[in-house]
């Protein structure tokens, strides 16, 4: 469904549902996107490379951060022990977490002393670099990486289900109304309210969130 929209006194032409939403928000609103980031979002890049190369070379993550801070990594649900040898394929799910408490936390740590206790779910897939090609992977962020890398990925832009984004914005509509600066849909400016009234269609959307 399409309909004319008004923005800043201008009548804008009939449009199809937006594919790219860009928001500038107060820092206090970033946690509202937490569940989106926990559930996972798609990012595009070159695949067929190691986890380390994907995160550090393509996304600028400091190698030290990956080594020290991200202690628990899953690739398609398997525990990754070696970030340099494990290869990411197109369509994979990569989950990033800090060190975890308890026996389970120790057991799931990368390269951990207790690795034998979860042998059945340790990553045993591709460990030699295949040829690189463009593709996309689903990233899930938990705990400390959620807090620390979440804003970075949001600023860079993530691909997520449009309905889920709309749900997040609706759930705290009043807060966003107050705390949102610039609202762009496919490059055009809107009021926050208009964004919610718009038909977003289905499928995925590219979302960018910058902090004011």
């Amino acid at each position: 469904m399409t309909h004319p929209e008004k923005s800043h006194g201008r009548t804008i032409p009939e449009r199809t549902s937006p594919r790219h939403i860009s928001l500038t928000v107060k820092a206090g609103l970033i946690p509202a996107f937490s569940q989106l980031l926990q559930n996972g979002f798609w990012i595009k890049g070159y695949v067929g490379c190691s986890v380390k190369s994907f995160l550090c070379e393509q996304f600028g993550l400091a190698p030290e951060y990956l080594e020290k801070r991200i202690q628990t990594i899953f690739l398609d649900g398997d525990v990754v022990d070696d970030v340099e040898k494990t290869v990411i394929e197109d369509g994979a799910t990569l989950s990033l977490s800090a060190a975890m408490p308890g026996l389970a936390g120790a057991v799931l740590r990368k390269g951990g002393y207790y690795a034998a206790m979860r042998d059945q779910i340790s990553f045993k897939g591709e460990t030699t670099s295949a040829s690189m090609q463009s593709g996309k992977i689903l990233v899930k962020l938990f705990n400390m990486p959620l807090q620390e890398l979440g804003p970075v990925f949001l600023e860079h832009g993530i691909q997520v289900e449009s309905n889920k984004v709309k749900d997040v914005l609706k759930a705290r509509a009043d807060d966003f109304e107050r705390g949102c600066g610039e609202v762009l849909a496919d490059g055009r400016k809107f009021e926050f309210k208009q964004l919610l009234e718009m038909d977003w269609g289905g499928g995925d959307i590219f979302l960018q969130v910058k902090i004011v």
Partner: protein
């Protein structure tokens, strides 16, 4: 220090004797409770009989300035497992009891006519009074009543209606810093044993008393500082746990495919992000709750919190990982408010949250409610509080409920419900579940510095037999830490930072004027496990009880589609040392 023995069955009414430590000198926490139970309780006695005892013991450093030292152990022959039990809790009582000068309280005997008593202990002594007005009060109302009677400087140890009804899932409640009955020695039904002794509440008041003094106060201060610095600088104890609580694990265990969902049917729950520690902490902050809070004074990690309802009113303490899982994913429920409500009800009725959640999962499998139906789950918990016929079945745990309703898939070992890790995905945990003296228990194999302690020599973790050795060593080290009475969450800092582990030993040495080494700590852990194993053997346990239910070997767990593959022969090797 002295031991306070109260014979609840003495002729003429309960009889108090304050006796020196004697053969139990130098023991605390689990080492003390398990020693008393193994030496003084006939292993074949009925857990609710006069022959059973309930031992409540602070840790070795409780009542001192040492950080994390306020955990308390409750020991008995378990009505749930039929074996020895040490159940561990936070709360204020450990510090207060130690400051009152008691190494332990031991409740013995059984009143003849089924009276209900309250026990008041302060610096002037012990007063025991029958009080039928307390009958069937929930823990929250009970504590309020005690505050009116004894003032607001007290710490309470109590049972709710479940303990009075002697349900096998009944807990012993301990009040927290805000004097709410939110901390529980839940596992194994110690509340039923307290109920069988006719004790509704023990009220402690340490007014006029100060911290216990160390043999070498300066050394204790220095060691404590190193210990606290170690906890603060470690990412788990200094950041992850304070920020998100233990429920920080939900997303990660779910991702590992080890998050038991719908009564251990699958290993992933689609609603995890709605009930994760991350979401929980944000919900608490948004409602004016507290995401970072200690369960007792002197905790610097502060993995707990305060959970408010939608209107910003106190509902319960921050439900921890196991509770959120048990009432959440395990029952297909992704509503944090409903889970928090069940946590509140569990605390009020005085039942173990893990056992209750697992039991409701079994009840759902039996068709008593649909997976995901939060309201129905709350109704089932309320049946327990009311003590209806159904409630009495549920209040006796997952194993009994499974039997009554003819369900095969019942996730228990030695009749105790498994906690929040599916042993098919993380098989090393399955080894611990199967072989622990306590029944399926996650804390019985917590990650403690076995590589630093070198318990049992060096283990090559990549060899297939590695997980047997690791589980054994973890159980030994855990028994040792439990015996110091320190919170088990120190484990990570101790695991990664040898100086933090040394600081722990230094604190013990400074306080008692000892020269303990890491080897002594290991020896203590081994001796505790040996005692517990021996008690269980005398109570009729054999190797056949050290097994997971058969379906874990047969039913593959999605998404990894793995079964439990550790052989029985290997399981039998855990106790070879």
């Amino acid at each position: 220090m002295n031991i306070l023995r109260i014979d609840m069955g003495a002729s003429g009414g309960p009889k108090v004797s304050v006796v020196p430590s004697g053969e139990y000198a130098g023991l605390g926490g689990r080492a003390l409770t398990s020693s008393v139970i193994s030496k003084e309780v006939p292993p074949l006695c009925h857990p609710l009989s006069e022959d059973n005892k309930l031992v409540i013991a602070p840790g070795l450093l409780s009542g001192t300035s040492a950080a994390q030292s306020g955990r308390i152990s409750v020991g008995c022959k378990s009505p749930l497992t039929g074996g020895i039990k040490e159940s561990n809790s936070g709360g204020q009582a450990s510090q207060v009891l130690a400051r009152l000068g008691y190494q332990a309280i031991i409740l013995e005997g059984k009143p003849k006519a089924g009276e209900l008593y309250k026990i008041f202990i302060n610096k002037d002594g012990v007063k025991i009074t029958p009080d039928s007005s307390l009958c069937m009060l929930g823990n929250y109302d009970l504590v309020e009543k005690m505050k009116k009677e004894y003032g607001d400087k007290i710490a309470c140890i109590s049972i709710g209606p479940a303990g009075e009804m002697k349900m096998s899932a009944a807990s012993v409640a301990f009040t927290d810093m805000e004097q709410r009955p939110t901390r529980h020695a839940g596992r194994g039904g110690p509340g039923a044993v307290m109920g069988s002794k006719g004790v509704k509440v023990i009220v402690l008041d340490d007014t006029g008393l100060s911290n216990r003094t160390a043999k070498d106060p300066e050394k204790l201060r220095t060691a404590n500082k190193t210990f606290v610095d170690g906890l603060r600088k470690h990412p788990v104890t200094g950041e992850g746990l304070p920020a998100f609580g233990t429920n920080i694990l939900a997303n990660v265990i779910n991702e590992a495919g080890a998050y038991p969902t719908n009564n251990f049917l699958v290993g992933r729950f689609p609603g995890t992000s709605k009930i994760s520690g991350e979401t929980q902490a944000e919900t608490e902050k948004a409602r004016g709750g507290i995401p970072t809070h200690g369960c007792h004074r002197g905790c610097v990690i502060q993995c707990s919190g305060v959970y408010m309802d939608k209107d910003g009113h106190y509902l319960t303490k921050q439900p921890e990982y196991e509770t959120v899982w048990a009432h959440g994913a395990n029952c297909g429920i992704d509503d944090l408010d409903a889970i928090a409500m069940m946590d509140r009800l569990d605390d009020d009725y005085g039942v173990d949250t893990i056992e209750m959640g697992a039991t409701i999962g079994v009840a759902m499998e039996a068709g008593l409610a649909k997976f995901g139906d939060a309201e129905a789950a709350i109704r089932l918990v309320k049946e327990v509080g009311k003590g209806t016929d159904l409630g009495r079945i549920l209040g006796n745990g997952a194993a009994v409920t499974g039997k009554v309703f003819g369900i095969e898939r019942v996730p228990v070992v030695k009749s105790q419900a498994m906690p929040a890790y599916d042993p098919r995905a993380v098989q090393g945990i399955g080894v611990t579940y199967a072989t622990s003296t306590m029944g399926a228990d996650h804390t019985a194999g917590y990650a403690v510095a076995t590589n630093i302690l070198k318990v049992g020599g060096y283990v090559d973790p990549l060899k297939p037999e590695g997980q047997i050795d690791l589980s054994r060593n973890l159980q030994i080290a855990t028994a040792a830490i439990d015996s110091t009475g320190m919170c088990l969450f120190i484990a990570f800092a101790v695991l990664d930072q040898p100086d933090t582990f040394q600081a722990l030993i230094d604190m013990l040495n400074a306080f008692y004027g000892l020269n303990l080494t890491a080897d002594d700590v290991v020896a203590l852990g081994k001796s505790v496990l040996k005692m517990e194993r021996d008690f269980n053997a005398r109570a009729g346990f054999t190797a056949k009880h050290d097994r997971l239910p058969e379906y874990f070997k047969k039913e593959p767990l999605p998404p990894h589609n793995v079964t439990f593959q550790v052989t029985d022969e290997d399981l039998d090797k855990v106790y070879n040392w």
